[in-house]
Amino acid sequence: MKKALLIIILFIGTQRFAHAQDFDKSVTTEDLELKKYAKDTAAHAVFLDEFGNSRIDVVSDDHVRLIFNYHARIKIFDAKGLESGTITIPIHHSADNETAEEVDEIVGTTYYRDDDGLMRSAPLDIKKVYTVKDYKYRSTVKFALPALRPGCVVDFKYRLMSPYLDGFRSWDFQDEIPKIHSKYEVHIPAFWNFNASLRGGIKLSNTSSELERECFSSHGAKCDCSHIVYEMKDIPAFIGEDYMTSPKNFIAAIYFEEVEWTNPYTSVKTVVAKTWKDIDHLLKSDENFGSQFKRKELMKDRITPVITGKTDELEKAKAIYTYLQKWYKWNNYIGIYSFEGIKKAFDSHSGSIGDINISLAAALRAADLNVELVVLSTRENGNINMLYPVISDFNYVIAKVNIGEKSYLLDATDPLLSFGLLPLDCLNDKGRVISLDKPSYWIELSGLQKESSTRALDLTLLDNGKIKGTIINYYSGYDAYKKRKAIKKFNSVDEYVESQDEKFPKLKILKSSITNLDSLELPLSETFEVEIDAFDNLNHNRLVFNPFLWEKITTNPFKLAERDYPVDWGMASDSRLVLSMHLPAGYTIESPPQSVAFKMPGNGGMYASSFEEGGNSFTFSNIIKFTKPIYTSEEYPYLKELYNKIILTEKADMVFKKK
């Protein structure tokens, strides 16, 4: 594996401290002359240098803030690189804007050669800096550097002040364009304690630390600071790949997680997260998490009518799940906490992931079921740091109900999920189970569920060249969910069937039926009685026929010769085809399809087909199976080759010959 997903704890180096500071060398004629970046000649732009400095300190209005200073210098090579001259800085704030991050001290300059070849500089006009409010909790500060032209160098700085001290600023060493040098310097007063971790497969070129004496002082409270510098050199551009999970898993970056902090004025120490025990305690007592989970009395009245008369635990759980699934509408916010409490969410029929699933868990508890909560990180949010507890890694919560020997993971935010099925975005890495009465523990989420489909065709070739028969598609597991979602995109089942009919001009759907569209727990099936204009007539001696008439794989989804990152589908899959075909009298099969079987090493996947002939009819069946949710870059060539074999096999036509 070239670049494994890597998270390592950083040990503070014992090297002598090299005095670190912002780069202040001026832009040189060499910088402007540079035609290409030697280490990546295809780069449209390159960071010549980048520097960041974060510290926790007292600011002028006597508040303690996290102060982040940023400075970058970028060389732009061509017209495509010009987009590196437009800078966007996301900032966070509360809904009422009372606490907010602020950006100031913006300075930007473009260095370029004018039409006469003279070196010139153009300053950024501060009036041309814009702040745009994107949504309730986020805005973006934006500016475009002036006088950009291919060949120019842009240099800009800004300061960002944040009231959110618990999230010490992380640093991405890697970007979409390469960097020659990137340096991050942090000053952390001893009142705060953070763990640092490095992600991605690139090594630091240098790290050093020193103690700064009495660097923090406020109203008589004083402490020393850790002053640490992290550096990387020659950082390649990050290039994403298809079927990859979050780029955050792979981009070289340093993250900080709060462990504990001491109030400088009261000396009261707050342990944020040292051990899972701390986190368990914290979450169980959190008013937006554990306290909501415990509100079973609140839910009791509401669910009593739902479970009246039900004695079986599973039946009760299913009834409550279905009821809440229909009750709630997800408001598109995600997070592990109940924002406004489950009562308000319940009354308004609307809530975040936390609101809905914590109220589901509380309701299940109210029915005296054994329930736990599972916090997890979605595929988009990236993997969990397994080395030590990091509560901020989690961004999603689901309920886990244990009935007898079995347990079911439940997400009530999507009305089309069947009991126990999770959305794809949740099938990532591990989840941490939080119980009210025992210590938390991990469960595996990747590969929890499967998708499978079967297509059964029973067709007869008629004397007039048409093919008539039945096509039945069965979907189960996640495939059933996906299909239901696709059908519900239409206003009615009739409209869906019409669209299927319209998709294949040579195929006419004479009759159709869809079963279990709303019975989410049963496999979905659709039956189409069809007529296909296969051949204009039967006045040919040889008829060419391809058994993959409904759907045929013709191109390989994998094109790269090799991959840096794993293929992550989130779940195993299984699809089958069974075709029974009846020919008119007088026809024989000249070139039957081959029966083949291909397997990936270690039973990772397979493709097999078989053919049986009997009189005037034949049965052809095949199966494609991918047994793993994730394929590493070592397994990738086999995966690609399996697709190649599928395509080759599906390409071969059959020939029916007149006797």
């Binding site: 061509d78 949504y135 934006k142 032209r149 029929h349 609307s350 001009p505 040889r542 390989n556 395509i647």
Partner: protein
């Protein structure tokens, strides 16, 4: 007197009772339910012009959401900023049976900036709210009042513009003082305007429509102004953020734009003017001069959009662009115009509705709201050239399908003129491919291919030329659906003339292109240009068949066959001729070679809706032919 008061109050309460509408879903006429995800039960749009800088929009709407797909139709997005001020909004929510289940007011709305994909910043701010109801169907009723400080343009009334929405009733009333004259344009309206006066002695213009079925989107349908009901209103006199004016026709509107928004925006530093003279020294042909300056502008600038106040219509100063090197379409056109002026080349600033499908302004109805882009026109004698100024790469005089073949309004000192932009006919939009491939006994395909892309098809590859080599290879592997495609060598040659041409040369190989089973090799006859997506059928089509742009593809591939194999099966030659296009494919075996020829022509235009099924069948035949195998068998 007493009796009178009683009578009046009875009357009022009577009206009140009647106004209490019943929004039970069961009352929706059955015929409005097909293809509908939402039904507008009643809508009343009232635009009232009090003064040139004081217009009120009073809107009342009741809409029933039938299922999840209709949710966005009930979401409310209102402008609230310096130009348009929201004066209040409130609403109620009813369940399926018409029983009220909730209400909302302005405090439930979230205020954000208007964010789109292309602007760095716009000063438009919005308030938005979407009712969250988990059980369908439900009905949302709301009303709001917005005050607009301009009278240059008014929102057009388009009662059923979104697909999947049926309309029970929609009413539009435009009212204004008697001295405020308007022009109006009714498009696809079954009934005409009703004029009158209201209690404030204002002139009123009223339109109403009832029982409009939901529109289902149909592929290859004409521009929606060909079939959607719509009323547009334009003022005779107006004020826009402090700039006043009046116009009746395109000429006057173009004059106003020129006089009020463009004149004296073109000043440039003398150093820049000198540079332009220097740059064009020795060139006598004004077109070549213009080309030189255009390319200078392309190298120097890039597109960044910032829209503030009048800046939504008025370009940045040319001198600003000269300094900042960026601007939006208005700014870059104005700048290019100013640069050309320094060498005495006249040009016109042209308003256009960009993007495909092509759309022209209404010839008999001048208004500012029919455009979204600006291009530049060089009115040389017998040779009118149009320039797209927002791209660093587009060839001089080439428009692509973004602004081709449509009317634009040129704003000249003498007034506005409607001009027609360059038309690219099918025979100009050529993709010609010649390939020499060998098929090996193990199924490997290898060889060379050269493809020329001309006219609109130039853009099939122009975007690729800018990419880094690694990306180019990746994209070529996607473009050519050849399994296991390996690109050994490739090259793009760009001829950036007014009739641009791009030449792509590729040396390739692909193992397992053919499958070899027991001495029988199957391979797809069309390796390079297969049609896989065919237009889907439409039952009960409503609209004509419309093809926005035509083209011709020609492919000629020579396959050298493996030794000791002969052709057993190959696709039958085919020729199809239709009004909208033609297709021919033939194969010939000469010695150890199979020569494959394919020609596909599509002719742009509007054809009757009955023709659509033939169009589907046509493409189906093309696709089937393209995806046919050749079978080779080993000689005995």
């Amino acid at each position: 007197m007493k009796a009178f008061i009683i009578m009046l109050s009875l009357l009022v309460s009577g009206i009140g009772a009647k106004a209490q509408e019943n929004y039970a879903t069961s009352l929706i006429p059955k015929e409005l339910l097909s293809y509908a995800s939402a039904v507008v039960r009643n809508e009343e749009v009232n635009i009232e012009v009090k003064d040139l800088d004081n217009t009120f929009y009073h809107v009342k709407k009741a809409i029933t959401v039938l299922n999840k797909n209709g949710v966005r139709e009930a979401s409310i997005v209102l402008e609230d900023d310096k130009t348009n001020i929201l004066k209040g909004v409130k609403g109620l929510i009813y369940n399926e049976f018409g029983k009220p289940i909730g209400k909302f007011s302005e405090s439930d709305f979230e205020k954000t900036d208007y964010v789109n994909g292309f602007s760095l910043f716009e000063d438009t701010k919005i308030k938005h709210y979407t009712p969250t109801i988990s059980e369908y169907p439900y009905t949302v009723t709301y009303e709001y009042t917005t005050k607009s400080k301009q009278s240059l343009f008014f929102d057009a009334w388009e009662p059923n513009s979104s697909t999947g929405v049926a309309v029970e009733k929609s009413t539009f009333v435009f009212s204004c003082k008697p001295d405020f004259n308007i022009r109006y344009k009714e498009l696809n309206m079954p009934s005409k305007v009703v004029t009158g006066t209201n209690k404030d002695k204002e002139n009123t213009y009223t339109w109403q429509l009832t029982n409009l079925k939901a529109i289902k989107s149909e592929p290859y349908s004409p521009n929606d102004n060909k079939y959607l009901s719509c009323v547009k209103i334009a003022p005779e006199k107006f004020n826009y953020l402090g700039v006043s004016g009046s116009f009746d026709n395109w000429n006057q509107m173009g004059k106003w734009v020129y006089d009020k928004l463009l004149v004296s925006r073109g000043g440039l530093p003398s150093s820049t003017a000198d540079r332009m003279k220097q740059l064009t020294e020795g060139i006598t042909d004004p077109k070549l001069k213009a080309k030189k300056i255009y390319e200078y502008m392309q190298d120097k600038t890039h597109y960044i959009s910032v829209q503030v106040g009048i800046g939504g219509f008025q370009p940045f100063l040319a001198s600003d662009v000269d300094q900042q090197n960026y601007g939006d379409c208005k700014a870059l056109v104005n700048y290019t115009q100013a640069l050309l002026k320094t060498v005495n080349i006249d040009s016109y600033y042209c308003l256009v509705k960009a993007d495909a499908p092509k759309q022209s302004p209404l010839v008999d109805f001048a208004s500012m709201d029919q455009f979204n882009h600006i291009i530049l026109c060089l009115p040389f004698k017998n040779d009118t050239t149009f320039l797209e100024c927002t791209s660093q790469k587009i060839p001089f005089g080439f428009l692509g399908d973004f602004t081709d073949d449509r009317l634009v309004l040129a704003c000249t000192p003498q007034g506005g003129k409607l001009l027609h932009t360059t038309q690219y006919k099918p025979q100009n939009n050529l993709q010609q491919c010649k390939a020499n491939f060998a098929i090996n006994a193990d199924g490997t395909l290898s060889g060379d291919m050269v493809t020329n892309f001309k006219g609109l098809q130039y853009d099939n590859r122009s975007f690729l030329a800018e990419e880094a080599p690694k990306e180019q290879v990746k994209m070529l592997q996607r473009i050519y659906a050849i399994n296991n495609l390996e690109i050994d060598k490739y090259d793009f040659k760009l001829d950036k003339s007014v009739q641009p041409m791009l030449t792509e040369t590729i040396k390739l190989n692909a193992r397992d292109y053919g499958s070899n089973n027991n001495g029988k090799i199957d391979f797809l006859v069309n390796a390079t240009n297969r049609k896989t997506n065919t237009p889907h059928e439409v039952r009960n089509r409503h609209y004509d068949l419309y093809i926005n742009s035509g083209f011709i593809d020609e492919d000629e591939v020579t396959y050298t066959l493996p030794k000791d194999y002969h052709v057993d099966l190959r696709p039958a030659n085919i020729t199809i001729n239709k009004p909208f296009g033609s297709f021919s494919m033939s194969t010939a075996v000469i010695g150890d070679q199979l020569i494959y020829k394919r020609k596909l022509q599509i002719t742009d235009g509007t054809y009757s809706k009955e023709m659509y099924q033939e169009f589907v069948d046509f493409y189906q035949s093309v696709s089937e032919t393209d995806n046919t195998n050749v079978t080779l068998v080993k000689n005995n």
